[in-house]
Symmetry: C2
Subunit: 372 residues, 2 copies
């Protein structure tokens, strides 16, 4: 696995239980997945990645940032790369993603490629006076995304995009009038088998995932079917292997539109570690190893995950364990082993049960113990 | 943790999720818990164990074989040892255990300390012509336990016991006419808090645990209450910290008698990793760190665990993954990373659900894929 963050860390327990020897190429010493770090090195350096790849049978990722030329060098060297560069480029470049999903006839917001401010202003004018501008590359957790009413608000982004080695274009999308945000996770093997978890509702605060409810309330039936069909169509259409997270908008007029993609385990799937027969980390391993996929049924009617963002102002998460565990004996605490810092995802809490109000309360109040 | 076998290995995922830095003193290179091995060394050597203990805050165990003098040296050096030597001696010496449980008024089979064959023959004569003889120390998985009709069958054990540095005595117990075997697991913190999982039924084959059904069928009510009361009384009475497994007989005349004790996570509790809110490995960590204990409720009506004993005659467990996972997508496979060998516990499979027959079938048939 390239990348040593919390996604790599949470893959380790699944690997241990399956007897899979997980080796991590970490960005730095002491990262969240340090226990599995085979070595520390720069994932943008082809020689480093090729050398690391000699020690493994399959390469996968805890982020989408490995450059295409590095990925292609791995493929050329005969290393199985899952997901492969042909799929990953759609997770790396939002303009490519929008083009491809449109070609596949999948539901996306109105969008355009804009090369100059005048094009952006024209789009804004055609879409009610506001729009969402995104840098095609490098954004995550709300970075590189801005709601604007004029191209002048992102004039420096045009300059930066041109210097990025890309086309210099930005992506602009309609400002979707959505009721809520959803996420559909699926996993796909190279042989084509696909498994879908229940559709979930995600709550974002400041562009960062704060809470996930599984399944999404009032989603049974058409909504769940549409979301699963869309995600499976994307996994097949883009040739994704491993876990694919499809972030969706449920619009006020009951449409489902694709927002973002991630081709790896995703924050919206953390609940599955405690709430589903097969957690996303085990499933990702099974998928990239081309093993049959595990069941995606849930243990209880509801699972709710709440992120611990930032953590305590002083001290560590573990300092709050006595209070959290005494008051919330059924909450599952996941600690990423990271130093608390404002806004940083340092852990999450999951609660499960059959009464949604109780489960939400339990997860939120347990997570709150870890935050000042 | 002293000892690097599968129990230490299965502790690693729980430690990672809790952000606990688990360090193992392993008996040899390449053991099941190698990923967490801080070092390799001899746990019977006081200097080695004391040196290892300098790197940790609390010492615990994946087996009961650390000698009392080593344990006492740790305590004298100010190291928290959980469970401590005063508790562990009852798990190390079955005669001491029988004496102490009898003092506590807990239900045990008729037993006697026998120093010479004539005493053993007298006990046999008083108990219907047969009895169970046990070496006080060193036995596990049916080793050091024999059903005899005459002292002559174990004459060499008297010699060995005398040479073991003990009193030279053997333990003899009535041959209990039992309906089935049960196990009650509890966890206890130094501060005294105790949590009990549901009573389970264990099926032994050749003295080795083969299958566990949680909860034990038809155990609700009096039986479950008695078993939990007995286990809590033992945990309190012996001052156990961490997980305590109490193996029990359910007699044909509806009594519950204590068979054996283990003061660590136990094969009869593996189901809890997949079937309960808090698995035994997480709970053991919480208990030995004196953290509040987690909920012990179950996700489904039934959890069934089947051991993989021996494994394939040729190849590795992973070679059977495609077949096992394709046909049993809901079975949870746990691979201890050990070389297959006849009779060796190399993994286990757990299935959960609400129909006992289906769950038993699923767990057994998934486990069977791994055995010739």
């Amino acid at each position: 696995m390239i990348g040593g963050g919390q996604l790599a860390r949470m893959m380790v327990p699944a690997a241990i239980e399956l007897g899979v020897d997980l080796r991590v190429l970490a960005e730095a010493e002491g990262m969240a997945a340090a226990i599995a770090a085979e070595r520390v090195g720069d994932y943008t350096d082809t020689a480093t990645v090729l050398d690391f790849a000699k020690t493994v049978d399959v390469v996968t990722f805890d982020h989408e940032h490995v450059p295409q030329d590095v990925l292609r060098a791995l493929v050329d060297a005969g290393v199985p790369v899952r997901p492969g560069p042909d799929a990953l480029r759609y997770a790396q470049d939002k303009l490519l993603m929008r083009e491809r999903l449109s070609e596949l006839g999948l539901p996306v917001p109105d969008w355009a490629r804009v090369l100059v401010p005048a094009e952006l202003d024209a789009f804004i004018a055609e879409h009610g006076g506001a729009a969402v501008v995104k840098t095609p590359r490098g954004g995550y957790d709300g970075k590189g995304v801005r709601v604007v009413r004029s191209a002048a608000e992102v004039s420096e982004w045009f300059t930066a995009a041109a210097e990025d080695g890309g086309s210099g274009a930005l992506l602009v999308e309609e400002l979707v009038d959505f009721r809520r945000e959803l996420a559909q996770l699926v996993a796909r093997r190279p042989s084509g088998e696909v498994a879908a978890w229940p559709l979930v509702e995600t709550v974002q605060v400041g562009g960062v995932c704060s809470e996930v409810i599984a399944p999404a309330p009032k989603s049974a039936g058409r909504l769940a079917d549409v979301a699963a069909d869309v995600a499976v169509a994307i996994a097949d259409g883009l040739g994704v292997t491993g876990v694919l997270a499809v972030e969706l908008f449920e619009t006020v007029d009951d449409r489902v539109l694709v927002n973002e993609l991630a081709m790896r385990p995703h924050n919206s799937g953390h609940w599955s570690m405690d709430g589903a027969t097969t957690g996303q980390f085990e499933q990702h391993l099974r998928a990239v190893l081309d093993l049959p996929l595990g069941g995606t049924g849930t243990h209880h009617a509801w699972s709710v995950m709440v992120n611990i963002l930032g953590g305590p102002e002083e001290g560590q998460l573990v300092d709050r364990y006595p209070e959290a565990m005494a008051n919330h004996p059924t909450a599952k605490v996941h600690n990423y082993g990271k130093e608390p810092r404002p806004g940083r995802k340092v852990g999450h809490v999951t609660a499960v049960g059959d009464d949604l109000d109780e489960v939400v309360y339990e997860a939120r109040s347990a997570a709150a113990v870890f935050q000042d």
